[in-house]
């Protein structure tokens, strides 16, 4: 029989740590460092997702001369966090261009699109708009994965988790490595795409 023993931080320490993060580490947040704040963690994880995802040849990501365009839909705070985080960081060895988007028609150049605070109806329209294009769709809202978001982060028992809609990832032309799938919850597209 195997028994698991998980060393976890005490819950009462979270506020203190959060405070420390904002006061001490925010200005110099690094994607490679272990994040403690859920927002920062999500921002950091964006880059980590890209490590195990390959963009198709001929896409912008494959072009070394173009920056990696990280688009954020809605939520100015998260956009700012991402912007701050990736000012000095690279994704796929490329400089990162963080761009906040609000126009559904201006999503063609996004290599990664983080959907924050999107209504379901808008989400559908947005998903329809980027369907088939090699843009990694990431969100942190329950149910988004089933709708068509490629990677959807969620919290479980105090731990940040993520789920992957493997069907839509496939249809977008992106390739997710199995090692990433190893720790993710696999979701299939609900209903006709």
């Amino acid at each position: 029989m195997v028994s698991a023993c998980i060393y976890s931080r005490r819950v009462w320490r979270w506020p203190l740590l959060l405070l420390l993060c904002f006061t001490l580490f925010s200005p110099s947040l690094n994607a490679s460092e272990a994040p403690t704040d859920p927002v920062i963690m999500r921002a950091v994880w964006l880059e980590r997702f890209t490590r195990y995802i390959d963009w198709p040849g001929g896409s912008r990501v494959a072009d070394a001369n173009t920056p990696f365009t990280l688009c954020v839909w809605g939520d100015d705070n998260f956009a700012k966090t991402v912007h701050d985080l990736y000012q000095q960081q690279t994704i796929k060895d490329k400089t990162v261009l963080v761009s906040q988007r609000t126009d559904i028609a201006q999503l063609q150049d996004c290599d990664l699109l983080y959907l924050s605070s999107v209504k379901t109806a808008d989400l559908r329209a947005l998903l329809d708009k980027v369907r088939g294009q090699p843009t990694l769709l990431v969100s942190a809202q329950a149910g988004n994965a089933e709708l068509g978001v490629h990677i959807n982060m969620y919290e479980e028992q105090g731990y940040q988790r993520f789920e992957i809609n493997i069907d839509d990832v496939k249809s977008s032309g992106l390739v997710i490595r199995s090692r990433l799938l190893q720790v993710a919850r696999i979701i299939h597209h609900a209903g006709p795409s």
Binding site: M1, V2, S3, A4, C5, I6, Y7, S8, S32, A34, M41, W45, R48, R51, Y52, Y159, Q160, R161, F162, R179, L180, Q182, V183
Partner: protein, 700 residues
């Protein structure tokens, strides 16, 4: 250190087992070490691979803060000996850990020391590995694995014991193989050993070792057989050598016995010889002295043996000696000694004598035994014995004296006419001494002019004239007076002086004849007697011829007289010698004809001119019928052979008339003249020529 006396088979088995055991032990040890090393390396490689894989798998959960997933990864490890797996975060704090429940919980070490050690630390109990969890040079933490080596050691131990069992089985197999192999090696060697022992015990070197193949043992067996061949040959050679040595020793012993026999016995008659005879006399004297008894020494000699030997040859003479010895042996007792001293001389030693009559009877017995003739080889030989005897102690007390006195007595018997015996008388020694002195004196007589020639006329029966003279030697001894040739000629013959004396006679006769020839008597014939020794000289014809030529005497004026016995000894040689003499012109006559054993057949072969009838026939030619018959037969035979006949010893007119009437050509004797010195004969030649012989004859 005490030496082990193991049989070779046990030694070979021990060697095989030792070698196999050491090899197996070494193999087992090396194998075990290799196994342990390989197992450890395999475990290390496996653990490292697992660590790398687990680190790889832990990378994503660690990035996405998923300790549960990490524990799940750790729990699914394929390392059965894993005791503990722990993931450390980038701050080296334990992030997630997994431990097998059956494994003893161990304290988590400081992973930095392990990282500093190259990522792996191995001790006797465990293997500790630390693997970095990284992605594209970004470090996320470490994976720590603690692997127990118990299982590995158990497996290695199991393999060790398994291999030990296999080794034991192999050792047992080696023992069985050793037993089989050592038999193939030790059995032939043991057979060789047994063979060598058997040969040593029985000394039978003909045995050989059997062998097969061509290996070292076969080579050893072959060499062993070669050695046996050599020993066998040496043994055979030694046996042969021993046989030869034995034979040689036997021959030597036989030769020694023969030598001893020859030293003591006469080979012809097998009687004791002089040396043993003297020993027997000495023993007889010793016993007689001790027992106060008498002993006699009898010396005997065969009468006329020399003539028999000369006329009939040595073979007949030897047969006569052997027959005589047998007759003598029959005349004496078993304990008495009969010995042959040499020639025809025998000696008898008689012991245990009480009366002299005993000796007389023995001697008379011997005389009687020789009364009968001997028959052998177609010959009938008559001989008698002359015997002399002396007795111990009155005639001598030592061997030499007894022998000398007996010898003297025997000579006395001979002087008394032979065929008789004589006891020793003290005066007999004088005779022996006389013989000895004669030998010494004769050597000087020739040079001192004591030897003389007298000449006796030979008369022609018809004319009564001297037609020849016979030279006769005389010895005028300065103290003993005239000595008869009958006495000194045998002495000259036995001493070897006869050759020189004979030559002197020839030379002197030639000198005298030469003188007479100068005085006109050139027809006068000189008769010279030749001795047997002279006749055997090869250069005799040349010697006589040389002398005659020196004095210019024709050879036909010399008549050489030879006795019958000289001719009969070697008939063929005599014929050759006579022919040589005859071819030179010398006349040849047989002297003393009738006394020997001449065969008429031989007589024809001899180139003779004359026969001289022996005086013994002439003596009684008118009174004894037998002598008359013999003389007539000789005269008749001579006429048939056309030989001149001369009669010796004519002393009476009756004899002369008888001879003349029966055709005797010439006569010689005292009736006409005794032998005279040369001067007197010269006078006779001067005064009586030619007719006065007849008147003298008439006057006598």
């Amino acid at each position: 250190m005490k030496q082990l006396h193991w049989p070779i088979g046990a030694k070979l088995t021990a060697i095989i087992l030792s070698v196999s055991g050491v090899a197996l032990l070494a193999g087992l040890t090396v194998f075990t070490l290799i196994q342990m090393r390989e197992a450890r390396v395999a475990l290390e490689n496996s653990a490292m691979a697992q660590a790398r894989l687990m680190a790889l798998y832990a990378e994503v959960p660690l990035q996405f803060n998923d300790p549960k997933a990490i524990v799940d990864i750790l729990s699914r490890t394929e390392l059965p000996s894993l005791k503990q797996a722990t993931v450390f975060d980038r701050d080296n704090k334990v992030y997630a850990s997994y431990q097998r429940i059956e494994q003893k919980l161990t304290a988590i070490p400081d992973i930095r020391t392990i990282v500093a050690a190259g990522g792996m630390v191995v001790d006797s109990k465990s293997l500790q590995i630390v693997q970095a969890i990284e992605h594209e040079h970004e470090h996320f933490g470490y994976l720590y694995l603690n692997v127990s080596l118990d299982q590995l050691q158990r497996e290695v131990s199991q393999r060790f014991w398994l291999m030990s069992g296999v080794a034991a089985a192999l050792l047992f197999l080696s023992w069985i193989l050793g037993q089989l192999l050592q038999k193939t090696i030790s059995r032939p060697i043991l057979r060789l050993t047994a063979l060598a022992r058997r040969i040593g015990e029985t000394q039978d070197y003909s045995a050989r070792a059997s062998f097969k193949g061509d290996d070292e043992i076969a080579s050893l067996s072959r060499s062993f057989n070669l050695m046996l061949d050599a020993i066998h040959e040496r043994e055979l050679a030694r046996d042969h050598a021993e046989d030869a040595l034995r034979e040689s020793k036997k021959n030597l012993e036989s030769a020694v016995q023969e030598l001893q026999y020859l030293a003591n016995y006469d080979s012809l008659t097998e009687l004791p010889n002089r040396a043993l005879c003297m020993d027997r006399i000495a023993n007889a004297v010793f016993r007689a002295a001790r027992e106060q008894r008498k002993a006699a020494v009898v010396f005997l000699d065969l009468d006329h043996f020399k003539e028999i030997n000369d006329s009939l040859g040595h073979a007949v003479g030897d047969e006569l000696l052997k027959a005589a010895s047998r007759r003598l042996q029959s005349c004496i007792r078993r304990g008495d000694t009969l010995a042959r001293l040499g020639g025809d001389e025998f000696l008898i030693v008689l012991e245990d004598l009480n009366e002299e009559l005993n000796v007389v009877s023995v001697m008379q017995k011997i005389i009687d035994a020789f009364a009968h003739p001997f028959h052998f080889g177609g010959y009938t030989v008559t001989t008698t014995v002359s015997i002399g005897t002396c007795t111990y102690p009155q005639d001598g007390t030592d061997v030499q004296t007894l022998m000398r006195n007996a010898d003297a007595a025997m000579y006395k018997a001979k002087e008394l006419g032979r065929n008789t015996y004589q006891y020793y008388q003290p005066e007999m020694n004088a005779l022996s001494l006389r013989r000895l002195s004669l030998v010494n004196d004769l050597r000087d007589a020739q040079h001192n002019g004591q030897l003389l020639l007298h000449f006796q006329p030979q008369i022609d029966s018809d004319s009564c004239r001297i037609i020849g003279v016979e030279a006769l030697i005389r010895w005028q001894h300065p103290t003993l007076g005239p000595i008869s040739p009958v006495e000194f000629i045998p002495v000259a013959e036995t001493s070897g002086m006869i050759v020189n004396i004979g030559l002197w006679v020839i030379n002197s006769a030639a000198v005298q004849l030469a003188q007479w020839r100068k005085q006109g008597y050139d027809k006068l014939r000189m008769a010279i007697n030749l001795s047997a020794v002279q006749f055997r000289q090869h250069d005799l014809p040349e010697q006589i011829s040389s002398v005659m030529q020196r004095f210019h005497i024709p050879h036909e004026c010399i008549e050489l007289e030879i006795t019958e016995s000289m001719l009969m000894r070697d008939v063929e040689g005599a014929i050759v010698m006579m022919k040589r003499l005859k071819s030179m012109g010398f006349r040849l006559a047989i002297d003393d004809f009738g006394t020997g054993y001449s065969s008429l057949n031989y007589l024809r072969k001899f180139p003779l001119d004359a026969l001289k009838v022996d005086r013994s026939f002439v003596d009684e030619v008118t009174t004894d019928a037998e002598d008359t018959a013999i003389t007539l037969a000789i005269l008749s035979m001579a006429k048939n052979l056309r030989l001149t006949v001369i009669a010796e010893g004519v002393e009476t007119r009756e004899q002369f008339h008888f001879l003349v009437e029966n055709g005797c050509d010439e006569v010689q004797g005292y009736l006409f003249s005794p032998p005279l010195p040369a001067e007197q004969l010269t006078q006779l030649l001067l005064t009586e020529l030619p007719l006065k012989f007849s008147s003298t004859l008439v006057a006598n």
